[in-house]
Symmetry: C2
């Protein structure tokens, strides 16, 4: 079994995540949800994002609506450009992306953003037919990937489910900047759900139609992107960059001076992003930043890098790092006729934007794959202690001699501070295995010695070694270990 | 100005919350969003819900998809019954709820759930016309309040934005119960966004189209609703019940023995809910539970109580407490042909459900209204310390003599543990006022004595009294005060 399958099996059997509305046979693909263990781990991951990025950098966090009016997406360009060119097989009715199947047939690179007629001409030129049944293809249709909703009793207002959280950050920028008395540079963050009508959702959390994002938009004066004090704190830190088909470790200062990264501000945010990922337990050797080619970038991006992680199904993009320039703020200023300029050292400017757009679901999957290990006698999820869905498990060694009562007492004490689990069923070995596979770092056993001297054993998940700790020191001991 | 207006003004001026997409003149009503201070306070409120309800009661928490397929809402009854009967004025084109305007004209109580023809007959009988322009009314149309979305390249799958979070709890129940090795009774909780195409959204956070809910579904064996050990811990606790047009304080045990509340399990959950609200800073005298009449209950409810809070615009429902019986689980079992039964002490049953369905946005608004006070020289938001959006503010008394550097150092120390804010602009009095109105409990000033003996002043928000505390004891002092 591949690691992908191992993680899927674990996720389903222990309820980390599973398909939404799975009891209904024809529920649409691309929707997954988190059971109790997945929810706990996902919430801890978002807390880590808050601690290591939002709070570390003194960002502001907002929480905006999922439904946004059409005007927003006219201004942002999504109505026109967030599209896939699709063709349908007239015989088997399957739907394909025109650029993909033309490219497969012709061996040529086909840009995503041609007109319907241009795609039709290429289909005809290369005599492209259905890859499945060789049937004839329909005319190309440019398909918008946003979900549309009608608001009001007669659906009179057209709106869309946001395809990225950042649009509310842009739209709210004037009020947030003013009411929080901001100065440039300032970053605004948001986490929440976004929606994309993907044609081929697949690979569980890796390609979804409903996605949890955590986005950071950094607003700055482009003429000062190299006057950036915080850069000092990361200048020696080494980024893992994909250059000439291999990974190169290069310090932030070298990357900027050699022009690999265009300025200090961007280098700083890439550095704190990679540092965040080092804290998720994803192995450093499985990380890279890859600069995107012209044909890969989103329509709003001037320069783009993907932060990618190596998994059993290849390199997966976890964070899109986009230099969006003043594209979004200027777009909304024009469409709304509102003023989006700010004063920076006496100069009136429209700020530029650099973004870190993170996929939380994908990140969670990659953390699980990177930390899953199959050992001789057990499966174990070696996630960092602070991301484990359950922090402590409490077991009475046997269900007599006052041990269950004592164990309950300890469990009640611990669960005030930590995600805790009580288990008194099955052999102690089996109870350990159940906790190992969900990554619980501390299994606490109450045995006959406990009844004499008020100490318990704590078994370390990774080394499987046991130590004895006094009950009244347990809370502090665990707090210290979590760090 | 009413308190409602005071809170609105504060919310807009300090960016707690404001209309979504406000820069666009024709953005639809009923969508609001949280700026940085609102997001901080809202997240703390959800943390309090987790601590005082979910964790206290050892509930499981899940996080499901917002988009759910049509099958779910056939089974739940929402497709048929989550409807409003609407009429439109043929002249001025305004839309009204048929039951409301017939009732206003006739003085009679009109049930919500008549057929279109029955409404038309009543309109004709009472000669009801447009309340605004006296125009003639259209035929009644039964309007479903769910937002519809099409999934796939040809919108081939019909789905809806969930109108309540609990449907994923019901649909996921078999897997969660099995994978978490549950026993009855067990509660499953979820917080997230839900969507309702309200015809008349109004009063900012009080009637929205996009709502943040926090729902708890308690699954239990109905024959054991009075064998419920946890009840012991609340039996003397007094609920505030609306009985015979007045509020009566009655202990849980009296409420059950007198048949005011139907069993111990329900009484327990109402008690811990009211205890939660006491911790939000909403005044006890402004709370009540009100039993719903037949004509007020949701279609899935056998018995319903609303937890309501008194505001400047009247009593507002914050939590719907519904005894949903086995309505939902049986509905999904029938529609999906899956087994939803569980074994409870050897007996095979479909569990019954009691729910606490909380509106987070409304709750936040009520907390702000209940804690806002206009004093002679200041506005102050007396929220509990643990809900304050900013916990500590750090001020250098003057911007010289090393005070700003020292203040920065203290700010850097505090912001690792608390939501902190640094302010060095304007008079100290003005800085205090700015923090008072957003509820910051601790303003810490660095003055000339600090430079001599490493102590600072902490000013208490409510009493405005100052104490001197040593810098190296600050963290612990604040932690202790928050409790």
């Amino acid at each position: 079994m591949s690691k992908y399958d191992d993680v899927m099996k674990l996720a389903l059997e222990r309820g980390f995540f599973f398909q939404s509305s799975e009891i209904y046979a024809d529920a649409p693909a691309g929707f997954w949800e988190y059971g109790p263990l997945g929810t706990s781990m996902k919430n801890k991951l978002i807390q880590l994002w808050r601690k290591e990025l939002v709070k570390r950098d003194e960002m502001l966090e907002i929480d905006g609506s999922v439904i946004m009016p059409e005007d927003v997406f006219i201004a942002s360009g999504h109505l026109k450009s967030f599209v896939d060119p699709l063709v349908e097989c007239k015989k088997c009715k399957q739907v394909f992306r025109a650029d993909k199947i033309i490219s497969e047939k012709s061996g040529q690179i086909v840009p995503e953003r041609l007109s319907e007629k241009e795609f039709d001409a290429l289909i005809s030129k290369y005599n492209v037919r259905c890859p499945n049944c060789k049937g004839e293809l329909s005319k190309t249709k440019i398909f918008n990937m946003m979900f549309k909703v009608g608001i009001g009793a007669k659906d009179e207002k057209v709106a869309y489910l946001r395809p990225e959280t950042c649009q509310s950050i842009f739209v709210d920028f004037p009020r947030v900047f003013r009411t929080m008395r901001c100065k440039l540079p300032i970053a605004i963050a948001q986490t929440g759900r976004v929606f994309r009508n993907e044609i081929s959702p697949r690979q569980c959390l890796l390609r979804l139609r409903e996605i949890i994002q955590a986005e950071i938009e950094v607003f700055f004066n482009p003429s000062k992107a190299n006057e950036f004090e915080k850069f000092e704190s990361v200048k020696k830190y080494k980024l893992r960059m994909w250059i000439d088909e291999k990974i190169v470790e290069i310090s932030c200062e070298d990357a900027v001076s050699k022009g690999i990264i265009s300025n200090k501000l961007i280098a700083y945010y890439l550095a704190i992003l990679q540092q965040f990922y080092e804290k998720t337990g994803i192995k450093r050797e499985n990380m890279r930043f890859r600069t995107l080619g012209e044909d890969e970038k989103a329509f709003y991006t001037k320069q783009g890098l993907d932060f990618e992680v190596l998994t059993s199904v290849g390199w997966i993009e976890l964070v899109a790092c986009n230099y969006r320039t003043d594209y979004d703020l200027s777009g909304h200023a024009k469409e709304s006729k509102k003023d989006f300029s700010v004063i920076d050292d006496g100069e009136k400017i429209i700020p530029h934007v650099f973004e870190l757009s993170m996929g939380i679901d994908r990140t969670l999957f990659c953390i699980m794959e990177n930390s899953f290990e199959r050992e001789k006698e057990r499966d174990v999820l070696k996630v960092p202690f602070y991301l484990a869905p359950i922090t402590c498990a409490v077991f009475p060694l046997v269900n007599r001699e006052g041990m269950p009562e004592k164990a309950r007492e300890i469990y009640e004490m611990l669960r005030k501070n930590f995600d805790s689990f009580y288990d008194d069923s099955g052999s102690i070995g089996r109870r350990y295995r159940r906790m190992d596979e969900v990554g619980c770092p501390f299994c606490i056993t109450i045995d006959s010695q406990t009844m004499k001297d008020d100490t318990v054993t704590i078994r370390d998940r990774d080394s499987m070694k046991q130590v004895r700790v006094k009950i009244n020191e347990l809370n502090d001991w665990i707090k210290k270990m979590i760090g």
